[in-house]
Amino acid sequence: MMDFGDTPEEAAFRAEARAFLDAHMKLKAKGAHVSRAMTPDDVAASKAWQRLKAENGFAGILWPKAYGGREGTPMQQIIFGQEEDRYAVPTTVFNQGVGMAMPTVMTFGTPEQLARYPRPALFGDEVWCQLFSEPAAGSDLAGLRTRAVRDGDDWVINGQKIWTSYAHFADFGMLVVRTDPNVAKHAGLTFFLIDMKTPGIDIRPIKQISGASNFSEVFFDEVRIPDSQRLGAVGEGWKVALTMLANERFTVGKAEGPDFDDIFALARQTDLGGIRAVDDSAVRERLADWYVKTAGLKYTRLRSQTALSRGKAPGPENSILKLVSAPKLQEIATFGIDLLDMAGTITDPEIAAMHGLFQQALLYAPSKRIAGGTDEILRNIIAERVLGLPADIRADKGLAFNQIPTGAR
C-alpha cells in the first residue's frame, strides 16, 4: 500500500537534520515573501551558513568524503532540502558552485584542480558563477562566440557573457568559450575555470523589466588565463558544459512566488459585486485548473522521490515540472492582478493586496519560462528524449562554425 512516510533510515536522517536546523535557525514566519537584490551582508550570511552546514555534514550530502562531503543518498539531499526550506535561512549563493560546478570539476579536473577548488566551495569560502549564455547564444548555447586564442602557456579571451547570477560576488566562474571556429559548433568549444578578479573582466548589472538587477553581463577584453585553468581537453567544452547542466537538475528547486494557496486566498477575500470571487463559476474554473496542476506537480515529485527512495533512477515524469510551474506562475500572477480590478495595477507594497505579491510576480514570471530551458526547448526535450521523436532538422548541421548563417551579428 502507498504511504507518504519516511523509511526508518530516512526518518532518522530527518530528525538529525531538524536537530541541526533547530539549533541554528528560526522557522520561517508564515506568509513571508521577501524578494530583493542580494547585498554584501546577505552574501556574508550565506557564506557563514554554508560553512556551518559543511562542518556538520549537511552541505555536500552527495559529495565524496574526500572533499568534505557525506556520501549520502539523493533521498537525504531531498529531505535536507525539505527541512531547510521550513527555516528562515540566508538566501544561498552556493547552488551553482556546490551543486553544479564542483561535481563537474570532480568529473574532469586535474589533480591540482581537485586539490584546489572543491573544498573552499563547499565550506563557503569561494563563490562560483556560470559564464555560459551570450547575447547571441541562449537556447542554441553551442553557437556561443566568446573567443579564446592560445598564446604560449596562456589563452587570451575576448567576448561577452550574459545572465550571470552573483557575478559581483563570485570568486570564480565556469567559462565555456570558442577555441576553434573552423570546426562544427559543438566541436570547437573549450571549458575554463576563471578567476573573476583577472584584469580585463568588466561586470555590469542588467536592468530587468521589473527595474531590478539580479543578473550581470560579463565582458572579456584581452583577458589572459593560464592553460592550467582549462577543465577537460581542448575541444571538449561542450561535453563538460552538458555535464554541468545535467547537474543543474539536482539544484533547481520549486519556483518561488504566488501559488495556488495564494490565488485561492485572494479569491476568498475578494468581493465581486456581492459574491466572493471564489463562488464565481468562471473563477472556479481557473482555480480548479491550478489546483489540479499544483497537486499534479506535487505528486509527480513524490513519484520521483519514491524511485529514489527505492534506490532507482527517477522516471521521465520529472521533465514536466518547470514546463508546468513556470506558465502557471505567470497565469496566477496575471489573474490575481485582474481579480483586483482597477486597483490591480498598484505595485506599492504598502497599499497593494498581499503586499504586491502578484504584481511582483507578474514582472519576474517571464524569466521563469526562459531561464534553465525555455518552454519551447523543454517541449523539444520531452518530444525527443521521452517520446522518442526525431531531432529537429538543423540549418547549421555539418557546417563549420564560421560558415553558419547568422542574423545582424
Binding site: D3, L302, I320, L387
Partner: protein, 336 residues
C-alpha cells in the same frame, strides 16, 4: 516514501497488458463493432476466471481482495485497450454493493459479479421513473440506480429496456423504466460512491490518454510529408509533448486518488482532482490524436474515433466537469 504501485502490481500489469493485446490487437474492437457483436462473452468469461472482476471484492464474497491498487491498474489497461466487455459497469455495481449492500445483498450478488456470472451496471442519469442513458443496461443482470431519495438495487430481468444510440460504439446503452420492485441500499452515501468511482474512471482515462498518445507518436513517425517524418516538425512535437504533460499530471493525480481509496480522509479533493485532470488529458489526447493523423484520422478505419468517443463518455458518466469543480472548490473552501 512509497507513492507508486508495488512491484507485484507492476508484474500483474505486464500480464494484464499482454492478455488484452493478444485478444484485441489494433482494429479488432472496431471489426467486432462492424460485425454487430459488441459484447465479447467469451472474453468476459475469461475475465471472471482470471479474477480481474473480483480484485476489490472481499474474499468471503468470492473476490481475491487483492485490493484497489490492482483494480486501478486493471482499469488503466482496460481504458487503453477498450475491450467490448462491461468491465467498468460491473465494477461500479460491485463497489456500490460492497459499500452499501446489506449482508444478504452482498452474499447474493458479489460472488456472481466477481466471477462474471452476473453483469452489473450503474444508472445515474434520468429521473426517478426513467433512467437514461444506462451504459451496458442491455446485458446487465442488475443495476444500481440513483433516485432523489437514495440508491436502489434493481433486477433487470423482465424490466422495460430499450436500446438507445450514444456516442459509445463499444458499449450499448438503454432507456430503463424503473420497475415497482426495487431493493433500497440503506444508508448509501452517493457523493462518496461517486468519489470512489471517479478515481477508477480516472485510471481508465489515463489508460485511454496513454493509448491515444502512443497512436499519435507512432503515426507521426511513420507519416512523411515534405520529405521528412511529420514527427520532426515542432508543431507536432510540441503538441505531443503537451499531451504528455497533461497525461503525467493526470497520472499523478490519479495515483493520489488510488491512495485515497484506501485512506479516505482526503477523498473528495483527491477524487475531484483526479477526475478533472484525467478528463482534461483524455479529451486533449483523443482530439489531438485525430489531428496528428490528419485526414486519415477522420476515417472510420483509423480507430482514432474510438478514443474520441470514449473520452466524452468518461468525462460525463459520473457528472460533468462543473459538478467536480464545485466539489473540489467547495471542499477546499471549507478546509481553508
Amino acid at each position: 516514501m512509497n507513492f507508486d504501485f508495488s512491484e507485484d502490481t507492476g508484474a500483474m500489469r505486464e500480464e494484464v497488458r499482454r492478455i488484452l493485446r493478444d485478444r484485441f490487437p489494433r482494429g479488432a474492437v472496431r471489426q467486432a463493432v462492424d460485425a454487430g457483436a459488441r459484447f465479447d462473452r467469451e472474453f468476459w468469461a475469461m475475465l471472471g476466471e482470471m479474477g480481474w472482476l473480483g480484485v476489490a471484492i472481499p474474499e468471503r464474497f468470492g473476490g481475491s481482495e487483492l485490493g484497489y491498487e490492482a483494480l486501478c491498474m486493471i482499469a488503466e489497461e482496460v481504458g487503453a485497450a477498450l475491450p467490448p466487455v462491461p468491465f467498468l459497469s460491473t465494477i461500479f455495481a460491485g463497489e456500490a454493493l460492497t459499500l452499501f449492500g446489506s449482508e444478504a445483498q452482498r452474499a447474493k450478488w458479489l460472488p456472481r459479479l466477481a466471477s462474471g456470472e452476473a453483469i452489473g451496471c450503474l444508472a445515474l442519469a434520468g429521473d426517478d421513473a426513467v433512467k437514461l442513458p444506462v451504459v451496458d443496461g442491455d446485458i446487465a443482470d442488475i443495476a444500481v440506480v440513483s433516485r432523489s431519495d437514495g440508491l436502489y438495487l434493481v433486477k433487470l430481468e423482465g424490466t422495460a429496456r430499450e436500446k438507445i444510440e450514444t456516442l459509445d460504439l463499444i458499449r450499448t446503452s438503454v432507456r430503463l423504466t424503473l420497475p415497482a420492485a426495487m431493493e433500497r441500499l440503506e444508508g448509501a452515501d452517493v457523493p462518496r460512491l461517486l468519489d470512489r468511482l471517479a478515481i477508477l474512471v480516472a485510471f481508465e482515462q489515463v489508460g485511454g490518454t496513454q493509448a491515444a498518445l502512443d497512436m499519435a507518436v507512432g503515426y507521426a513517425q511513420e507519416r512523411y510529408a515534405f520529405g521528412r517524418a511529420i514527427a520532426s516538425f515542432q508543431a507536432i512535437k510540441h503538441k505531443l509533448a503537451e499531451i504528455y504533460v497533461a497525461l503525467e499530471l493526470a497520472r499523478s493525480n490519479a495515483y493520489y486518488g488510488a491512495y485515497a481509496l484506501e485512506d479516505e480522509a482526503d477523498l473528495p479533493v483527491a477524487a475531484s482532482a483526479a477526475r478533472i485532470a484525467a478528463s482534461k488529458a483524455f479529451s486533449l489526447a483523443a482530439q489531438e490524436n485525430i489531428q496528428t493523423h490528419g485526414g486519415m484520422g477522420f476515417t472510420w478505419e483509423s480507430d482514432c474515433h474510438l478514443y474520441y468517443r470514449r473520452a466524452r463518455e468518461l468525462a460525463l458518466n459520473l457528472g460533468s466537469a462543473r459538478y467536480w469543480r464545485d466539489r473540489l472548490i467547495d471542499h477546499l473552501d471549507k478546509a481553508a
